[in-house]
Symmetry: C2
Subunit: 370 residues, 2 copies
Amino acid sequence: MTVDEPISDYGFLADALDAADADAFVHVGDADADLRYLAPLSETTSDYGFVYAGGEATLCAPADATGGSVDRVAADFPGDVRREAADDPVGTRVVDTLADRDVADGATVLVPRQLPHDAAVYLESAGYDLASTPAVREARAVKSDRELDRLRAVQRAAVRGVERARSILRDAAVREGTLHWQDAPLSTERLRRQVNATLVGEGVADVAHTRVRVGTATARSAVELSAGTPLVVSLAPRGPHGYYGRLVRTFVVDSDGGWERRAHVGVESARRVALDELDPGESLRWVHSETVAEASSFGLTATEGDRVYGVGLTRREGPSLADEATVGNVVAVHPSATDEERGTVALADLAVVTEEGCELLVDCSTSLVP
Amino acid sequence: MTVDEPISDYGFLADALDAADADAFVHVGDADADLRYLAPLSETTSDYGFVYAGGEATLCAPADATGGSVDRVAADFPGDVRREAADDPVGTRVVDTLADRDVADGATVLVPRQLPHDAAVYLESAGYDLASTPAVREARAVKSDRELDRLRAVQRAAVRGVERARSILRDAAVREGTLHWQDAPLSTERLRRQVNATLVGEGVADVAHTRVRVGTATARSAVELSAGTPLVVSLAPRGPHGYYGRLVRTFVVDSDGGWERRAHVGVESARRVALDELDPGESLRWVHSETVAEASSFGLTATEGDRVYGVGLTRREGPSLADEATVGNVVAVHPSATDEERGTVALADLAVVTEEGCELLVDCSTSLVP
């Protein structure tokens, strides 16, 4: 259940080989996201090799991986699985597979740019010419229906995490300006752990990127929460199939209606602009700059960094600001404003680009009031 | 608090350069464990470059990483941090750094074998000769006191997770052979989520490798638990500083005293043998084979796969079976026996190799009875 099923249609690799007049595609590694996209490898701790040639996919599995996990991988892989001697480097196993697939010396082999150096040396020593291809990265930027289901599932878990934070903050009592919950002071760390417990209760696998922050400093230690201060709950949970969600909300308990209210109106407006502008064919750099401009029009200083970016098997992937939005892209829309003295107000959601524009993967209230 | 602090002493790189008559060491990447060992990069989603030359470490940070996270990295990095134009490939940034450090064309540059292929091409185009080095991997196999503290901390969280499972199983009622807890049937999935909630409550970042299994099949869907059947709770949580724990326990509710009792005695005995044999200078392959032999002497079939292996920033790392144990190695001792009809009994603990032999990082009861 926690094994990633791979994609099952390698047509995009066939297209890349045709376009480059190449004979094979090769990748090697363990936890690399491109390899996890190509093959069901979430559990591995050993190097696997992936070869696509002659319309067939082959996975070179190390015999030293425990039997059960290779069996699980083989059950889900839409191609041959070769189990090889543990002592052979994966580079030699990949070269053997190319030979068995009749890929001749001198042929061009496409590889992702992050192919491990030692595998490249084995391939070049065997007489193959290597050429980098962004084909896997580009394919990953356009999500299939199955990938969208997985992204929606983890994003729904993120909503539960935000709702848990909201409910704790709603129940919190203010005593001499500081927040108390269940008769003890409420710190960023205590709230973070409560949110994480909710996330894993929803089946989330990785909560390493849950942040609960006040102020502009990126505080590392627990900070006790106080009334009137913006609190940013920033979630990037990874679901059981390896896909990341992204959801950020900002709360203020007993707001005095000052900067944070204005900032929240501006950031909500910037969010609306980003979602309005995110259409097929639109440049992401344009969407980003319109988002920042909208926040500025409220007199706010936008937080630095990209305000739109692709999300999937990694927390940041294609499309990037250099790309145009394409149907099937999943994009985090993440407006944010910072004031050195008052703190940060931020919102983030995942949207999928559709023929008609874009739609949120999951709805979640943006209210500043818990 | 969740940022990994890097090691601060790169003496092992100076030694590797001396031994190979090389002038610099280079690595490039994002989530790679070797790079996380060299620099505090747990939060990054962009490529960083690490250069060691002339006794100085330099980190090439991409300007497109959000400002806060580069600031955090810079605060913890024991060397220069260069922020570079976002559009430059990290390979060119690393080449520029080498030039600034007066590393001349034609010099030998050591790299880990998994250096990304495109970075290797940039280095070779700039006239450097690349040679692979296992120096980082070897250094990672010997843990510092700070690393041991982090491993102990996550292993303590794992003990709480196992104790949570034990307590739920102790409280469970048997109704017509199946286990019920809090008035509902208890499944592997329900127990797994309870354990995971405990782990994240203890500050664990990643619970993706928590397994709760019955029988020999590597079941993917929830299975309702029944009395008399061995239940394996297998934990490999990753703590906030990036280090993994490893703890496996087997429980049987209302055992009828059959195969699982004998298997448990045999596996406990194999565990004792492994801990007795794990001494500095001892071959890990010998420790592994003695562990398997001890289980066999009870008439048990050992589960396939390595029964001893190094653990740290990854779930499996040095030392491997080909190595001799060295003071500071952290090794999972993981005896396991399988019967096709009765299931699996397994135990795993982390031990650190000391001058006198080895010691468990953390104690945890091995009892089969919850």
